[in-house]
């Protein structure tokens, strides 16, 4: 069991703010941290990693990592950390990046095999693609068989195909090692696929905590589906008005009445839902 009860004053882009987090995490859990930028997600991760200080306590499987008099240094916490920008060591080959953490060659080769990096093990980081770099970074983070794996938006710099591929690998590795994992992510589909628990932070406070399904599904009552999007434009076509809404990476057109147009402002966030129809789903 991991018990976190910490407090830290932050001076962020949104002015002064109190990061106040009280969390209990079960062993083997995959927890996603979500919330707006500047809500304290990365800071929480860095405090757990021992890279920043805070007041309060952190207790990991009955080992004390932090209290008011004591702070275990990062070096002794036995954690894995995956940075958004990979942070690989450019002076080492892929294999040596892993062996730097721990000289366990067998584990290194096993991890490289699992992530299909075996062929690249003698290459240097500069010569790898973004996806390959992040896989090396993930393998490196697992080299010391960490008590907790911390990932700070690990896939946000990658394109969507690579993201899906890596999500699968993260999932495979998580099942294999059963490492308690905390991942910062903004992507609902990523959270849904990987995590079994989501914690939403807002201005340093936890405002929501539950399963991805409960928290991320936006449909209410008899709604068949509901999407959030941004209203880009309203075009008058003969007697009707058509609203152009951007949802995710797609644009959709919706017919709106004259009265509805009065209540809508271009640029505002809107939700788009339907009740009467049965949606159809088809593979692409």
């Amino acid at each position: 069991m991991i018990k976190i009860d910490i407090n830290k004053k932050l001076h962020g882009a949104n002015g002064e703010m109190d990061l106040n987090v009280n969390l209990e995490i079960k062993e083997g859990e995959f927890l996603a941290l979500a919330g707006l930028s500047g809500s304290g997600k990365t800071t929480l991760l860095r405090i757990l990693a021992g890279l920043e200080t805070a007041s309060g306590t952190i207790n990991i499987h009955n080992n004390l990592w932090l209290n008011d008099k004591f702070c275990l240094p990062s070096q002794k916490r036995e954690i894995g950390f995956v940075f958004q920008d990979y942070a690989l060591f450019p002076n080492f080959s892929v294999l040596d990046n892993l062996l730097y953490v721990n000289k366990d060659k067998e584990l290194a080769n096993y991890l490289l095999k699992m992530t299909e990096l075996e062929e690249l093990k003698n290459r240097f980081p500069q010569t790898l693609s973004g996806g390959q770099k992040q896989r090396v970074s993930l393998c490196r983070a697992l080299m010391n068989r960490p008590k907790i794996l911390l990932m700070d938006e690990p896939l946000s710099a990658l394109d969507s195909n690579m993201r899906t591929k890596l999500q699968n690998e993260i999932l495979t590795l998580h099942k294999e090692f059963n490492t308690t994992t905390i991942m910062v992510s903004h992507d609902p589909s990523e959270i849904y696929r990987l995590a079994n628990r989501v914690v939403i932070l807002n201005f340093g406070e936890i405002i929501n905590d539950g399963t991805p399904k409960d928290i991320l599904l936006k449909t209410k009552g008899s709604q068949k589906f509901s999407f959030e999007g941004e209203l880009l434009d309203i075009i008058k076509v003969d007697v009707i008005h058509v609203a152009i809404v951007s949802i995710g990476q797609q644009l959709v057109e919706v017919v709106v009445s004259k009265e509805e147009v009065k209540n809508l402002k271009i640029g505002q966030k809107v939700s788009l839902a339907t009740k009467a129809f049965s949606p159809t789903i088809q593979g692409l």
Binding site: F81, F83, Q126, M143
Partner: protein, 232 residues
């Protein structure tokens, strides 16, 4: 022409390079901890330490020379201590030159190293700490290997700057042949006695050597940068 070249004394050049080599070697080990500390600290005392290490750049060499003479001569406690207990004289000999040069060239070693260490991706250093490695191990296995251009710049510029120093060596060392008479001092003396032929030859040699050294540095650094950017 060949006759003249035959008569050239190479002792001052050898002395200049010996002094520069020893100074660079000592300064590397003194400056590395200072540069590492300055690159990592968020302390409010950082500007004070930075200003101190940069002082020799702005101070006239005579000021530096004067204080070094004053504090190392056997009239001063430090000079007297070394003279009495170790029998070492600290001024008007080669030892004195090395000490003076270490002060004089300190910023030329510290500043490129500090710049290089500051430019390293902080996440990379943190990844090393998280991997269980100490600050010391991180410095030597991660930080230094990744600042090769800065490292080379620091070493070469310090070396070149020490070869080129004049005011401080003249004040602290005087001009004792084969002991403290370095190339720059020798040239000064040739000019003073209006021996322009030798002044020309010595100066020409200095210009050529300095240019070749700097050319080497810039060519190496250009190559390193291209390698990092993935160009050929």
């Amino acid at each position: 022409m060949i006759e003249i070249l035959k008569d050239i004394e190479f002792e001052p050049f050898l002395l200049s390079f010996k002094l520069a080599g020893i100074t660079t070697f000592i300064l590397f080990f003194i400056s590395l901890p200072i540069a590492w500390y300055l690159s990592q600290t968020k302390s409010k005392f950082k500007p004070i330490l930075e200003a101190f290490t940069a002082l020799p750049i702005v101070l006239p060499p005579s000021v530096l020379g004067f204080y070094i003479l004053w504090s190392l001569s056997f009239n001063s406690p430090i000079g007297a201590f070394f003279q009495e207990y170790f029998g070492i004289k600290l001024v008007f000999n080669f030892t004195g030159l090395v000490i003076a040069s270490c002060f004089y060239s300190l910023p030329f070693m510290v500043q490129p190293l500090q710049g290089g260490l500051e430019s390293i991706n902080k996440n990379m250093l943190e990844a090393s700490y998280i991997s269980g490695k100490s600050r010391f191990e991180t410095l030597f296995r991660i930080a230094i290997p990744n600042i090769k251009p800065a490292l080379l710049t620091a070493i070469i510029v310090t070396f070149a700057h020490t070869v080129g120093e004049f005011g401080v060596v003249l004040m602290v060392g005087g001009s004792i042949p084969a002991e403290t008479k370095v190339a720059s001092v020798a040239i000064y003396e040739f000019v003073e006695v209006m021996d322009y032929t030798n002044a020309h030859i010595y100066s020409g040699i200095m210009i050529t050597l300095s240019f070749l050294t700097l050319l080497g540095v810039y060519m190496f650094n250009g190559k390193q940068k291209n390698m990092l950017l993935g160009k050929k």
